[in-house]
Subunit: 243 residues, 2 copies
């Protein structure tokens, strides 16, 4: 359980900030008790008593941990271990992207390079882990993109699912979450960047090409298809940044 410390040393010493210490203690509590996402934490009152801090300090520490999705708070219900998602990365990168967007879209350009690098770097693994089930699922998504593109409708949901499914066979949860995070940032920072009919066709065609290359077990072609996939966005970015 939580060891009680003497509140006597409240405002003394070169003690690190109160909340930092409290946050650290809460993390230790989770680790020590081997709690997982969804497990209940002590109430605020209990935490206050346990660490000898005021409710304000405890709440601010919890706020920090909430931002990192280490804890999750449900109003009127309690405090729980969080889902440990990469929500913090997304929010952080989105903000950076929005800041640079006004000027030069630098962060977005860098983000696209990262996305492409990861997908190309995993080309060999993706291609070798490719099977018929995955092929049919990805083909279906690419077809849906086709239809929606012809109807002038957006297809962001299909696009997100496509790029996540591509990574799924690798069995690396971190890669999947990073892929999702980067995709989310991209979608928020550049919601309507590549919307000319021509570049949309190009993008949809690239998805088909990616599936075919993977199905053929052709790593080189897969890499080329990924390159082609990001080409339209890159082009639009160059135009924007060129102004």
């Amino acid at each position: 359980m939580l060891a009680v410390i003497e509140p006597a040393s409240r405002h003394s010493r070169g003690m690190q900030l109160r909340q930092r210490e409290v946050a650290e203690r809460i993390k230790q509590y989770i680790l020590h008790n081997r709690l997982g996402p969804g497990d209940a934490l002590p109430t605020e009152a209990e935490l206050c008593a346990a660490v000898g801090a005021s409710r304000s300090s405890v709440r601010e520490a919890i706020k920090t941990l909430t931002a990192l999705d280490i804890v999750e708070v449900r109003h009127g219900h309690g405090t729980y271990v969080g889902r440990l998602s990469l929500a913090a990365l997304v929010e952080s990168l989105v903000f950076r992207g929005l800041l640079s967007r006004e000027d030069d879209y630098r962060v977005l350009a860098e983000l696209i390079e990262v996305r492409q690098t990861v997908e190309q770097g995993l080309a060999a693994s993706i291609v070798s882990a490719f099977d018929d089930d995955l092929r049919s699922e990805l083909s279906r998504l690419a077809d849906q993109m086709d239809e929606r593109a012809k109807a002038g409708e957006p297809f962001i949901e299909q696009d997100r699912e496509f790029h996540l499914l591509l990574m799924k066979p690798l069995g690396n949860e971190l890669i999947i979450q990073l892929t999702a995070a980067f995709w989310d940032v991209h979608a928020i920072v550049a919601p309507t960047l590549h919307t000319t009919p021509e570049s949309v066709r190009e993008t949809v065609a690239a998805h088909h090409a990616i599936v075919e290359a993977a199905a053929a077990g052709d790593r080189e072609r897969f890499i080329a298809a990924v390159e082609a996939h990001y080409a339209p966005v890159r082009r639009h970015l160059r135009e924007k940044r060129g102004l």
Copy 2:
């Protein structure tokens, strides 16, 4: 400036949580005024007046933004725009790593795959951007690792610098920060994982091999050298997880 809202609607409606709204407003303030890292934000008191919330709510919102390094607070001095680092990603991944460490080191294994994927995925760019200056700097670091390894001393500083320098010529700030973040997580979660004399020699040799492959402009050899670089850690991980 910050638009004043009527505090009349304080506790009314299905209004989103107060702090969420306050945090959003602070971010908008930064974006709207095009502030950058280090620029000053209004004081807590001014923020309270501007958004019509109490100090507690404003402080908790600031705590959230601080965790994301969007704002930075200097005690007794003021509140400023943060450095927009990936500190939140590091803290988040470190905690996940510590949680999984007790059981199966799963997160660490996945992290290593990500590091290797990024370095290998960028092989072509790294090799083509390689020049003599970089070569001599990296060689110097590898030599230092050699010496320290023979003396039985750690060489984490040199290792970190090595992997960051490798990425520098690419001119992609995001890649550099991600590389640093992943390295930091690795170092914290597995501080003493590959410490047998043999694997240390192997690791040091791999750094030399990476430099030579890059200098020779040989992308394939570079990829192989990176593979060899992570081989010892992988091996130790398999042993740990096999138990």
